[in-house]
């Protein structure tokens, strides 16, 4: 079956970095902060590539980013590891998951994608919403938190990580699938491929060209870093620990 897989990819601060807030609390301090492809989206790109590699038919993998010019670097990362195309939807406005989903729904229809593979959550806002919103807007089936995918006669069989254990569902295509950490281990781009990706074109569209206006849904009033640091008492050994937990903290 020929197939087009659309992979939304967000650019987020590197997860190993310490996040600082601007003094006025209006947002995070972005100075010198390194950015990466959202780890869950990197897993989605990897899975799309594996589907293409394991298929006898034509599979096209399209990475999409919505945001500022800065997205170009992360989109090139997706091209370097093997995405066929990359598209940047330019949008200077602040975006929440609702508006991301609205923009994606138009792109999905324009591109006639058969499958949207995306991260379960962006690790900056930690919303965990855009995939579910997109599936609702498209009236497509969804399988969130995927840890394994198999194609079957009736569609895509997805193992989902839930609080209660691993759930298995089968979704008919077209569908939206969101990835969990254990779906795969993303590959690294080789140097020749990184160089090749530099020469590829990134398709660009302004979001207004899609006939949409931003409908803000979540308004940020303030950000702060709460200190969670505690005064750690170093105990001398197991005996002191037990005494302290019993008599001082009274938790055992």
């Amino acid at each position: 079956m020929n197939m087009k897989i659309l992979v939304p990819t967000k650019r987020v601060p590197d997860t190993d970095q310490k996040i600082r807030i601007r003094p006025d609390g209006s947002g995070i301090d972005e100075e010198n902060l390194p950015y990466v492809v959202n780890p869950f989206d990197a897993i989605a790109v990897e899975e799309a590539l594996r589907i293409r590699e394991n298929s006898n038919d034509e599979v096209e993998v399209l990475a999409v980013g919505i945001g500022s010019d800065d997205y170009e670097r992360e989109l090139r990362t997706s091209l370097a590891i093997g995405a066929d195309r990359a598209m940047l939807i330019e949008c200077a406005a602040a975006l929440d998951s609702w508006n991301v989903a609205r923009i994606l729904s138009v792109i999905v229809q324009r591109e006639q994608a058969d499958l949207v593979l995306m991260g379960k959550q962006a690790v900056d806002d930690d919303s965990n919403q855009a995939g579910q919103f997109l599936a609702a807007l498209l009236d497509w089936p969804q399988a969130t938190f995927a840890s394994k995918l198999d194609f079957t006669e009736n569609g895509l069989r997805v193992a989902r990580e839930t609080d209660a254990g691993i759930e298995t569902v089968v979704v008919r295509l077209p569908a939206v699938v969101t990835t969990d950490l254990r779906l795969n281990e993303p590959r690294y781009a080789s140097l020749p491929n990184i160089l090749r990706a530099r020469k590829k074109t990134i398709e660009r569209l302004e979001f207004q060209q899609l006939g949409l206006e931003i409908e803000p849904r979540i308004q940020l009033l303030h950000m702060e870093v709460l200190s969670t640091g505690r005064n750690c008492i170093r105990v001398s050994g197991v005996d002191e620990l037990v005494v302290r937990l019993r008599d001082e903290a009274k938790v055992i």
Binding site: T15, V123, D126, A136, T144, E161, L181
Partner: protein, 321 residues
């Protein structure tokens, strides 16, 4: 505000997060002259409906077509009930079920949604919400624009609602089954049966990290200490990735969020993604052979040393007492 709490259950009992969601809803209702209803969806759920009626007025939707919690059907039902009953605010505990199902319902209802709420105030009849971002490194204060609004709350941030003396009314809701979508078919769920309590519901949680070399050691050290204390077992992502613990043991940004009275972290370094899941525990104990491990910065009590030596001593000592 007219508030709808989406209950979560295993067909027999409510999950404890639902009680916290009801407590949150009650508090908002009290400040906005509002009303709370709790929606119980499923099949053969009479006992859950009865339990829910001990903490809230109940809307019960019992249908064979809703046996498995598939997102497309459940979301449609939640959205329909929200519109029919002119609900202003939909609330659920922030669990994998709610993220999946209630998130989709929010998509049908216009996308005014805040997830993982840990605090709130009501100002001029408007909700001001606090939620963690960046793996909990940052706390944001936000408001929602649009109507109705959908919120998931962290169960650990709100004391569960307790049963009142009188049982509330249970209203049966009917749906047109033929109109429900049918694009997702549920095959199975593999649940683990464990003699230990669930990590999110236990008073005491003992967690192990990469320092633990195999499943036998995990069972002996982490399991052994948990049993001695009557607690639950959890782990860092490192052990889940290594196949030593199952996925649903993972505590952290992308795992479970816990806030027990006592959390013991053994051989866990204290990456921000792990801290996101446990740093609000009341008392935290860190056991680590690296005196500079970041886990000590969030711990109340720290024990430096090899857990392979210390934990057997600790189990022994507790056993002797």
């Amino acid at each position: 505000m007219r508030i709808l709490v989406v209950a979560e259950h295993d067909t027999e009992v409510l999950r404890s997060g639902t009680r916290s969601a009801v407590a949150f809803a009650n508090s908002v209702a009290a400040q906005t002259d509002g009303e709370v209803e709790c929606l119980v969806i499923g099949h053969r759920i009479a006992s859950v409906a009865k339990e829910a009626a001990s903490i809230s007025k109940v809307l019960c939707l019992d249908s064979e077509s809703l046996t498995a919690p598939v997102a497309d059907r459940y979301a449609r039902v939640i959205a329909d009930v929200t519109i029919q009953r002119k609900i202003d605010l939909v609330v659920a505990a922030s669990t994998s079920y709610a993220k999946d199902v209630v998130g989709r319902a929010a998509g049908l209802l216009g996308g005014s949604m805040a997830s993982d709420v840990v605090g709130h105030t009501v100002q001029d009849d408007k909700l001001v919400l606090r939620r963690p971002m960046f793996a909990g490194a940052v706390t944001a204060t936000v408001t929602l624009i649009g109507h109705p609004q959908i919120i998931t709350i962290r169960g650990s941030a709100y004391e569960p609602a307790v049963a009142s003396v009188d049982e509330s009314e249970i209203i049966t809701v009917d749906i047109d089954e033929s109109s429900l979508p049918n694009h997702i078919s549920f095959e199975k769920i593999e649940t683990r049966s464990s003699h230990r309590p669930d990590v999110t519901e236990s008073r005491i949680v003992v967690s192990g990290g990469r320092a633990i070399k195999n499943s036998d050691d995990f069972e002996r050290l982490v399991g052994g200490l948990a049993d001695q204390l009557g607690g639950a077992t959890g782990s860092s992502r490192a052990l889940v990735d290594a196949g030593i613990t199952p996925n649903d043991f993972q505590v952290g940004q992308t795992g479970k969020i816990v806030a027990p009275e006592l959390y013991i972290a053994m051989g866990i370094s204290g990456a921000v993604q792990h801290l996101a899941g446990m740093k609000n525990s009341k008392v935290i104990v860190a056991i680590n052979n690296d005196p500079d491990a970041p886990m000590f910065e969030v711990a109340d009590y720290g024990l430096v040393g090899d857990l392979y030596e210390l934990v057997p001593q600790l189990i022994e000592k507790l056993h002797a007492e």
